[in-house]
Amino acid sequence: MIGGQFGTVSGANAGASDIKPERQTEIEGGFDATLGNEFATLSFTYYNKTITDLLLVARVAPSTGRANRIFNGGKLRNLGQEVSLSLSPLRRPDFNWILRTTFSRNRSTVVELPVPAFQTGGFGTSLGSFRIEQGKSATQIVGNEGVVGNSEPKFQMALSNDLTWRQWSFSFLWDWKKGGDIINLTQLLYDAGNNSPDQVPAGNKRISTWGGGSCATCLTKVYVQDGSYLKLRELSLTYELPASVVGHLFGGVRYARLNVSGRNLIRITPYKGMDPEVSNFGNQAIARNIDVAPFPPSRSFFFSIDLGF
């Protein structure tokens, strides 16, 4: 609308009339092993997933009047391993203990790209931007000085534990992510506003090292930070009241459980922002891990009573 008149503008995205689906081929190999009467179960998977005829949204020369072009082309490869191990060291009528651990790692490579390398996501090079480039990882982050990081983690691990003893059961879940860089613009804004807790001298040093615009000495890397973490994701303790007590207390109730649990209880991370599990722009394929003052996950505690009728 302009001055009350309707108008049509040509779109920023140029489509393609011959667009077709992507093709994905995956070679997966692995094994499952069970040891000693289900004492331990180990499973291992290796995959090599190749996507061809990628549906690419590539930047085009803006002088064409368009911003993006959608077309088929290019090839992306994901290589990864997944391992899971579960142990049940104790299995007795009144005592049951199960431990599970998983490990995963993935590496992506843009094998072929029929267009020149292009940037996507982020706020320009000086603040870190993702760059799709042949032969490089699909999640590399580039800054003024070149490649400054990669949002893909080196690996991720989880450890969960379930313990049941008579009426008691106890469980927890740890998550460990190693690597995976985050563009910490929250800290940039605090530093730029003279508001960081460590402003003097660390914050001032960071902002002056960053320096802004594109220059030979400006370093975007200052605000591209390691997003590794170890988190106690969940902890839970449950007590089931003995049948005799239940029958005594509430008529018609089959069982009653008391439960105390907490989430996000412990977080160990070198990351300087509120929380390393951040993506201001949602669950995106590439432009994740950008931290611009989001609302962080909260720590929560629950106390519950379950009654079964």
Partner: protein, 457 residues
């Protein structure tokens, strides 16, 4: 085999995949279709309004950014330090970001593309031949305006011109700055020819910002005003002695008029209506973050400390806002009120600028007419600035008169996107004050958008 955590395939688009497979024709029910062959009058009209919407898109951003580059002002924004870090203290402008160094490119070329989308099919439209000529003349004029915006921001590397080509072709080659401006002039002249053959009325309605210029004959005056601006730019930036005379010729066919309001002109409308956009430069003076450079107030002392133009466009903020990183260098207590409301229009070109173009052309042309120049300058001094006439101007040197014209342009065209350009084209960038000499820079041009550069590798 139990899959655990398959990493997200980095480039997949699940939704698009499904649609592609089923071969559905998707139409957007919320937007009319773009103009194509055999366009109806309504389609043509919508495309014309769309062209203006496209040309308008980057104007507020250009005014804000060129104001910072030319130190008409600052933006001290707690949520984005880059209005200082990228536009003032960086050693080089960042070409990768359209909001800063890489700007004045995408939006303008999108508008130019919208224009070609019309020109390429207008021959088959269901309107009369004179009406088609009107569409051509209007479209080419707006395209020329969009090219001018790109050229105001880009000098050294210049720009591509021959952009009416399929996406599958290689991008248009860059031409020299001189050739690019020649193209602007030839577009405006071609538009004139079309407008002269366009009959008495356009087949579409122009928005209120073009009141008085909404017929082919009226709009031709806007076209000629833009030509005068182009000629003045070419005359001062390049060696083109005849360009000052060309500017005067163009002004003769424009709406320049010392008996009309200085605000007469063509404007881009903004509003808070549904579907429209507001003027992003409007702000509350007391909470403003788009600020006026204090030198604008300091230099008023030359003329006795007051100027009606300054008073009308600048307000006291109430307190001083400071850049946290350079609190004693980048600070201001003055807010822009040039665009007081979200529906304030932004001039495309207006009478006051035309009078000052005439003064400059008369002063600098080969057969200098200092008397005519002085008359126009004093007209502006008295009627716009509320100042006394300067009786000595008619006898002053060319250089002294040019200095005076630039002072008048500074206050007459405050926050209209001209200051940085004026300082550059007249070779005065070195006069721009560096508030913090150790860190501040004044740039002469914006770099070519990095997407443009990358796509040619």
């Amino acid at each position: 085999m139990r899959p655990i955590l398959h990493a997200v395939s980095a480039l997949g688009l699940g939704g698009a995949l499904v649609l592609g497979a089923c071969n559905f024709e998707i139409t957007n029910p919320n937007a009319p279709t773009e103009i194509g062959d055999n366009a109806t009058p309504a389609h043509v009209a919508a495309a014309m309004e769309g062209l203006l919407i496209g040309a308008r898109g980057d104007v507020p951003n250009w005014i804000l950014k060129s104001a910072i580059l030319g130190r008409e002002g600052y933006r001290i924004d707690a949520a984005d330090p880059r209005f200082i870090s990228e536009l003032i203290t960086a050693t080089k402008l960042d070409p990768s970001n359209g909001a800063f160094g890489g700007g004045q490119w995408q939006a303008e070329y999108a508008a130019i593309r919208s224009g070609y989308n019309v020109l390429n099919v207008i021959g088959t439209a269901q309107i009369s031949d004179p009406e088609k000529e009107g569409v051509r003349g209007f479209t080419q004029t707006i395209q020329a305006y969009a090219y001018m915006l790109v050229l105001f921001a880009h000098t050294e590397d210049s720009i591509p011109i021959d952009v009416n080509r399929p996406l599958s072709d290689p991008p248009a080659p860059f031409v020299t700055n001189v050739a690019a401006w020649d193209h602007v002039v030839s577009l405006l002249d071609s538009a004139k020819t079309h407008l002269l053959a366009a009959g008495s009325a356009f087949s579409f309605t122009l928005p209120p910002g073009f009141t008085g210029f909404s017929t082919p004959a009226g709009f031709l005056k806007v076209n000629r005003a833009l030509l005068a601006r182009s000629d003045l730019y070419r005359a001062s930036e390049f060696t083109c002695a005849a360009c000052y005379d060309d500017a005067l010729t163009a002004l003769g066919e424009s709406f320049v008029d010392t008996t009309a309001s200085l605000d007469v002109g063509a404007y881009f409308d903004f509003s808070a209506n549904s579907g429209d956009v507001t003027n992003g430069l409007a702000q509350q003076p007391t909470s403003a973050i788009n600020l006026v450079h204090r030198s604008l107030k300091d230099s008023l002392a030359v003329n006795g400390g007051s100027d009606a133009r300054f008073t009308a466009k600048v307000a006291d903020r109430g307190d001083t806002l400071r850049d946290p990183l350079a609190p004693t260098g980048h600070f201001s207590a003055l807010s822009w009120i040039r665009y007081p409301t979200p529906s304030s229009p932004i001039p495309m070109i207006r009478n006051e600028e035309l009078i000052l173009i005439r003064a400059e052309a008369n002063n600098n042309k080969t057969a200098r007419d200092a008397v005519a120049a002085a008359a126009d300058i004093n007209f502006i001094r008295v009627n716009s600035g509320g100042l006394a006439a300067d009786a000595g101007l008619a006898a002053a040197t060319l250089q002294a008169v040019e200095d005076e014209i630039l002072i008048q342009r500074k206050y007459s065209l405050l926050y209209e996107g001209m200051r940085w350009v004026d300082m550059r084209r007249t070779g005065r960038l070195a006069q721009i004050i560096l508030d913090v000499p150790a860190t501040d820079h004044v740039f002469s041009t914006m770099p070519v958008n990095s997407f443009e550069v990358d796509s040619r590798k």
